[in-house]
């Protein structure tokens, strides 16, 4: 088998009658970091959510590690055990402490005891510099801390592919930095990442590839530096120019 971890072909999806993704082909290799860029409403979140079937595709095929994603519960469990998802709004469970948030998926998904799970959870929190916050509740933390805790939670099950949907865009500029630092740290761990983000510095420094999406189609994709510095398509160029002028 090739080094492909994720293979998406002919993916179409939408809400009600509105088609949002109009035929996406995309693959991610083991350990590869891919950044997705695109204007608001272009379907970036929908694309990410289709991968672990949080949004059900209309047609097309998604393969993770050779396994074709389908709605069968056993398959979905395996797929979701190999993908971690980080949401724009963190979506931590507010009624549980940070460490419970991180440990629970291990207990439920991997059948670990509470002690085992919390030991692993604590070590992940320690690595991400959140060790001190383990016993706090999510809403007692700053947005940046919440998002880092959410990243820890997604990492707990040791997914092969980490999906991140604009992990910094809900944060005030001064809080983004700490999350971006965490992203760099995670990127170094060798795990494949598919990230929707407009942090161009991060994309340039950490991504292998950049994919530009508009109106539900991939407009351009290629080596991160190539696309960011010398985009071939006019739409990509315009988008990047507008993004940079906003910063």
């Amino acid at each position: 088998m090739s080094g492909e971890l994720l293979q998406i072909s002919g993916l179409r999806a939408g809400y009600g009658r509105i088609e949002v993704l109009r035929g996406i082909n995309l693959s991610v290799k083991k350990g590869e970091k891919v950044v997705i860029l695109g204007p608001s409403g272009s379907g970036k979140s929908t694309l990410l959510k289709c991968i672990p079937y949080l949004v059900r595709p209309w047609s097309g095929e998604i393969r993770i590690n050779g396994l074709v994603v389908n709605p069968d519960p056993a398959t979905l469990r395996r797929i979701r055990a190999s993908t971690g998802f980080v949401f724009q709004q963190y979506n931590l469970f507010p009624h549980m402490t940070v460490i419970r948030n991180v440990a629970l998926p291990l207990e439920l998904g991997k059948g670990m005891s509470r002690r085992e799970a919390e030991k692993i959870a604590q070590s992940i929190l320690d690595v991400l510099g959140l060790g001190e916050l383990a016993e706090k509740f999510p809403l007692e933390l700053s947005g940046g801390q919440q998002q880092r805790a959410a990243i820890a939670r997604a990492l707990a099950i040791d997914p092969k592919l980490l999906l991140l949907d604009e992990p910094t865009s809900a944060l005030d500029p001064e809080l983004r930095y700490e999350v971006v630092e965490t992203l760099y740290q995670v990127a170094k761990q060798g795990r494949a990442m598919l990230i929707v983000t407009h942090e161009l510095d991060f994309a340039e420094a950490a991504a292998d590839r950049v994919v530009f999406i508009d109106e539900g189609l991939i407009v351009e994709e290629g080596d991160a530096k190539e696309v960011l510095e010398r985009p071939k398509k006019e739409r990509t160029e315009k988008f990047l120019r507008r993004l940079r002028s906003r910063l």
Binding site: R77, R80, F93, H95, P105, L108, G109, L139, I157
Partner: protein, 222 residues
């Protein structure tokens, strides 16, 4: 007014009604909670017919007077061969009525948990049952608690309607005393007793709320 008569004769007589009032309240509230949970579940998870049934039940019991429901169960059911004593009939009527309100409280608490919580749970590989058990219900019950305690306090007062079919609870005893002594100020005494029960219950509710509140929740809402 004769204070000693008030203290040693009237007050103890009224107070004997308190356990009956509390039994009526506790039993009908529990019945309401059990039935209300089933009705809420039927609305949230049930098939179309189940959900429609539950909705009709709720509309019916909220849309007709409790007094009519008590009369119907006590005086109406014997016509079809179901004869209940006044206490049981009251518990059933008040419990069935409260079930409608409690179902709505529970349903809207479940509905108040944002879609994102389901998505997060799903993304972590939780099954539907696990999602409800560990993520949705624990949050929903906190949302519902203040309204459920309000309902409980309301029931303490509504149980006075059971006096009309002869249950010897607090208000029935009050009425009896008033007609026996011709002292309408006894109504004030009854009101004071109801207040003395309801106020601490509301306080208890506030304590529960603070104790089990999700830390930081209020701050997040503003």
């Amino acid at each position: 007014m004769d204070i000693s008569r008030f203290l040693f004769q009237i007050l103890p007589y009224l107070m004997e009604g308190i356990p009956v009032t509390m039994q009526l309240t506790l039993l009908s509230f529990s019945l309401g909670l059990a039935l209300g949970s089933v009705l809420a579940a039927a609305r949230v998870f049930g098939s179309k017919p189940l959900s429609v049934f539950s909705r009709s039940y709720i509309e019916f019991f909220r849309g007709t007077p409790l007094l009519v429901q008590i009369f119907f169960i006590y005086f109406g059911l014997p016509a079809v061969g179901i004869r209940l004593d006044a206490f049981t009939a009251s518990v059933i009527a008040i419990g069935f009525n409260s079930a409608a309100y409690q179902a709505e409280i529970l349903r809207s608490a479940i509905k108040s948990i944002p879609e994102e919580q389901y998505l997060a749970a799903e993304s972590l590989g939780m099954t539907t049952v696990q999602t409800y058990r560990f993520i949705i219900f624990p949050q929903a019950i906190r949302v519902a608690t203040p309204a459920l305690v309000n309902e409980f306090v309301a029931l303490i007062k509504y149980t006075s309607l059971a006096s009309i079919i002869g249950v010897a609870e607090l208000f029935r005893r009050t009425e009896y005393m008033v007609s026996y002594t011709f002292m309408p100020e006894i109504y004030l005494l009854a009101a004071a007793i109801y207040l003395a029960i309801c106020l601490p219950t509301s306080q208890f509710s506030k304590m529960l709320e603070t104790r089990y509140a999700i830390p930081g929740y209020k701050r997040a809402l503003v």
